[in-house]
């Protein structure tokens, strides 16, 4: 109910800001409100369907910005209803006379507080109607919160860098690549940039760039035969004491300090702890923050896992060997100022296939756009050593480190 009221306020706020007249908003607002009330399990679909039909049939081009505005704060389900209504009205208008309220759509695009996907939608309809739009608008979007708009802007800088490189204008090429690297968030673009910079003698410390954590304390193996250990709260889930040792079937285990120099922060548990099947490992890292701030803990792991931040469980996934990739699982939480503790539980099952033997993870700390958030005590980025082959080292813990 509170969400509905907030949605209503958002719509009123948008109209008061000059997006559309009250007379126009009077006719649309109830329809938009009905659509925004769709819920899980198909709740509200029937009413939304009727509202959608009316919205698509009755709205005119001038009302398109208001439909876009309604996406702000809408649930992912409602956002899909609204975007398709926007498309339907815009398509009808395009068939009629092709005239869209370009100035209003551009205003919406430039207001970065709006929903990123809605802004991208506005841009695509602007670009359909105005061939100059990419050249006029995209270069300003290198730092845009919309990752799709930002990606297009980075692509243009990359093209400029490649052109400069081909023309042997090395200074311009390097500055352009650096500019692209500062803005890029997608792995494929970052790989292009770092490869180019490496060839130009400017290797990039990727682990630093992405915010991968490289220093961990590892503990394991605990029992996970038949996958039962995933739900067992072994001692580190209650208290983290890196000086403690724990009895397990194979003897006693204790925390070991582990450093990885893999450029993507990969920790291979088969090497660091030993090859075990039906096993659970814990990994803990400290993270110093200068201030409280929302962050994302992004984990790549082929096997079942849990992520905690300062004792709060942020994410769980009981999945084994179904693809492993960077940023696969995202735990959203809040750093506090000072010392923070990140705890991971990484499980291995008992599959015997050769492709099911990996037991490893990588974790980075970043903001919602994927930009690295670095600990205040993190060492400065490596310079010129990225060609070094990845290696890892593990050492037993002393009583306290």
């Amino acid at each position: 109910m509170r969400q509905v009221r907030l949605a209503g306020l958002a719509l009123v706020g948008w109209t008061l800001a000059g997006g559309i007249s009250w007379a126009q908003s009077d006719s649309l607002a109830p329809l938009l409100k009905t659509i925004r009330e769709v819920g899980p399990e198909g709740k509200g679909n029937l009413a939304a369907s009727q509202a959608w039909a009316e919205l698509a049939a009755r709205s005119d081009a001038d009302q398109l910005p208001m439909i876009l505005g309604a996406i702000d704060g809408a649930s992912p389900l409602a956002a899909n209803w609204l975007r398709s209504a926007f498309d339907a009205v815009a398509e009808r208008q395009a068939r009629k006379d092709g005239k869209l309220p370009i100035a209003e759509l551009e205003k919406f695009l430039h207001e970065r507080q709006h929903n990123s996907r809605a802004r991208r939608l506005a841009y695509e309809w602007i670009a359909r109607n105005d061939l100059t739009a990419p050249d006029r608008l995209i270069p300003q979007m290198l730092d845009d919160p919309s990752l799709e708009l930002r990606r297009d802007a980075v692509a243009r800088v990359l093209m400029a860098a490649e052109k400069a490189s081909a023309e042997q204008n090395i200074d311009l090429a390097m500055s352009s690549y650096r500019k692209a690297l500062g803005s890029a968030r997608d792995l494929d673009q970052i790989k292009v940039v770092t490869e180019a910079l490496k060839k130009l003698g400017q290797p990039v410390d990727l682990a630093h760039h992405f915010g991968f954590l490289l220093d961990w304390k590892l503990l394991g193996p605990f029992d996970n035969h038949q996958g039962k250990g995933f739900e067992v709260a072994y001692p580190p889930e209650a208290t983290i004491d890196v000086a403690a040792s724990y009895p397990v079937q194979s003897g006693k285990i204790r925390w070991n300090s582990h450093h990885t120099s893999d450029e993507y922060g990969m920790v291979d548990l088969n090497k660091a702890i030993g090859k075990h099947m039906g096993a659970v490992a814990y990994a803990v890292a400290e993270f110093q923050s200068d201030k409280p701030r929302p962050i994302e803990l992004r984990l790549g792991s082929e096997s079942a896992n849990k992520i905690w931040l300062n004792g709060v469980l942020l994410s769980t996934a009981e999945v084994y060997h179904a693809n492993g990739t960077m940023d696969q699982y995202v735990g959203r939480g809040e750093l506090k100022a000072g010392r923070n503790v990140i705890l991971l539980k990484i499980c291995q099952n008992e599959q015997t296939e050769t492709w099911a033997q990996d037991w490893k993870f990588q974790l980075r700390v970043c903001d919602a756009t994927g930009k690295a958030v670095l600990a205040t005590d993190r060492p400065a980025p490596r310079a010129g050593d990225n060609q070094t082959a990845a290696n890892e080292s593990t050492s037993p813990n002393g009583p306290k480190e």
């Binding site: 899980p40 399990e41 198909g42 709740k43 679909n45 029937l46 939304a48 369907s49 959608w52 039909a53 698509a56 992912p76 389900l77 956002a79 899909n80 209803w81 975007r83 398709s84 209504a85 498309d87 339907a88 398509e91 996907r117 799709e148 990606r151 997608d186 494929d188 996934a317 009981e318 999945v319 084994y320 179904a322 693809n323 492993g324 990739t325 696969q328």
Partner: protein, 410 residues
Amino acid sequence: MSRRTFILPRIVIILAAPGLVTLSAAADWLQFRGSRSNSVTLDVQPPAKWSETENLAWKAKLPGRGPSSPIVIGERVVVTCSSGINQDRLHVLCFAAQSGQQLWERQFWATGRTLSHPSSANAAPTPASDGKLIFAFYSSNDLICLDIEGNLKWLRGLAHDYPHAGNDVGMSSSPAVVGGLVVVQVECQGESFAAGIDPETGESRWRINRPREASWASPVAMPGATPQQDVVLLQSPSQITAHEATTGKQLWVYKSPCDGISSAAAAGGVVYVPSKGLTALRSTSDPQPEVVWNASALLPGAASPVVDRGRLLVINRAGVLACASTVDGQIAWRVRLEGEFWGTPTLAGNRLYCISQNGAGQVVEISVDGSRGEIVGKGQLEGPIQCSPAISGGALYVRSDRHLWKIAAP
């Protein structure tokens, strides 16, 4: 659900001589492996040869990728795609079958997981239709219902409802319209379930838990005389079950290792399931079906078996097509095809249309007495192609990650 979809071909069976099918009106091709889930059409045979310059009626550019197959609803061809660096943009496109003109496109944003193996994409499941509505489904477990004019009727975010439903290898189970409902099968290591969804409201009429194991197989419709008698088969890596399509009530279970990709085929009350090769099952009044036979030599690859008029057609992982008897599973003949096959071939009369992953089309003609098969025509299209071809009105519809083609005689 429209009953005419299933009744029309039955009328034609009586009228048409085997291999010489002559329908004047195009039959719809409404879901994965056709309106009857069996990859068989009684429509006019498409040409046996094609290229970019021969028997190509039209070619349309697509805005995104997709192993999903095209479907045909009257004079309209519907295709789904997914795009974006994270495969999080979902497209439904509708083309005029006659001209290839794009009639409309609708886009949506994925609400579930969008990761997949590089060879797959979010638009892996084939859409389904009841002849009036389109049900577009994606690996991200977004289920979208549009009418044939592109008007949104409802949508469900099944991963929004069940957040642990998903598979980062990608999911590909296609919905089936059966028993008047849209049946979806969401099987993974997380939340696994099947559901019968009301085509008018998008609400679940039934939902049952399924084994928590990754499966890419699709529900198979076994139409009865009335919707209440319709049965749907659900295949998992450890079992295949039969259910009343209208209620989800389990009728029988066959517990045995089954293929996770290739789906069962059914004809004449017998189910041919990819299990230990191929196993024929017949429903009884017991909670387990009768095992009619097992043929270990009939081992399907990713493509599903095709069954028609006493013959089983199976392509194995090595690209060898085998034709076997439905009576005992004995192989009558084999033909080596070129390439690997993700898409299930489509049978029109006595011709089987096979499209390999690299776009090599091969048409195998079955002799009148069924004793042999030979490749009588080929056609190359630009791959990768993972779809199962649709046939309607004497035309073959094939899609890749970039294009949709209509192959038809001029």
